[in-house]
Symmetry: C2
Subunit: 193 residues, 2 copies
Amino acid sequence: MNQTVAVDNRRAELVRVAARLFRERGFDGTTTRDIAEAVGMRSGSPFYHFKSKQEILAAVMEEGLVAGLPAAEAIAESALTPRQKFAALVRAHLEIVLGEGHDFIPVLLYDWRRLTPELRSRVQVLRDRYDQLWQDVVSELLAAGLLRSDSAVARLLLMGAINYSVLWYKPGLGLNLDQIAEEAVSMFLGPQP
Amino acid sequence: MNQTVAVDNRRAELVRVAARLFRERGFDGTTTRDIAEAVGMRSGSPFYHFKSKQEILAAVMEEGLVAGLPAAEAIAESALTPRQKFAALVRAHLEIVLGEGHDFIPVLLYDWRRLTPELRSRVQVLRDRYDQLWQDVVSELLAAGLLRSDSAVARLLLMGAINYSVLWYKPGLGLNLDQIAEEAVSMFLGPQP
DNA sequence: CCTACCGATCGGTAGG
DNA sequence: CCTACCGATCGGTAGG
């Protein structure tokens, strides 16, 4: 219809391809030339869509958060029991961290430090919303007596355990995502009552 | 006495300074010129001591592992109860991950992927020894009925929770290392019997 | 370990 | 989005 759609498509393509490359090789291990080539552009053309390489990085992270938030919000606001909410949140989180084709959040976990302070603040807004959902569910667990710990530290340790899996999980080897989620929940909360 | 000592001192100095810079700025965010300048050398001189920048990175990681192994081994081989061993291991690990002046293991956690495959294999030998100590203690916890989970996944989740703290812990804010260690142990194992 | 340097890479830009 | 390019940086090396 108009050119905006085409331009947006190209931009979205750059973000998607950049996510994959950043995840595989890291932010510093990927050049803007790599990204351009992977979408069939010339080396300077990504800068028509983004002001800097770091802006691409921020866009990757924001897209991952925006894509992941609705599912997490639905879980947090559902009528499930605290334990069920937690189990669902763990499973959903494992999916966006380890699932096939999910490159965005791993990039966030790997290369958060490469963002400039300004961009970090911008992305942090979305990150805070995601963290708050976890905080709410962890608070429910504590209120229900299912977890004993300082609430803020508990959340950080729990999310750390899950997030860190991006460094050791290999698809096809050992447990699958459902099984890892089960192991994690039962380890943190004890066996099902 | 002889020149070997002086040369070794310079080399050790490079490793120590590189550890600090790599931790603060990341491997790719640090140039060999930064490292040279920080020890008072000219830009090319680090390559008299190391074949490549990656060799410096490997040396940093190996030094961290060699320094951390004895304490962990002493704990694993001690006569403590499984719960006490685990608590001691968590506390010792938090120290080398978060403690002031401990830059080596954070570099390992941040920049493991920047090692070439060959160097990664070399460092992995030491890493395996460290991981095995954790595996042994986790197995003892399982045997004692203090943890319910698949043993390998349990270890990875536990170590992930601790290791990931390198991304959120800020000295002087919130809990100190002793308190975080206590929170972690009680969250994973439940309240003390 | 220094001097002096290279060769390549890379993010980014002007102008169309 | 392409062409053509710059300016700086950086790991690494030869020779002493």
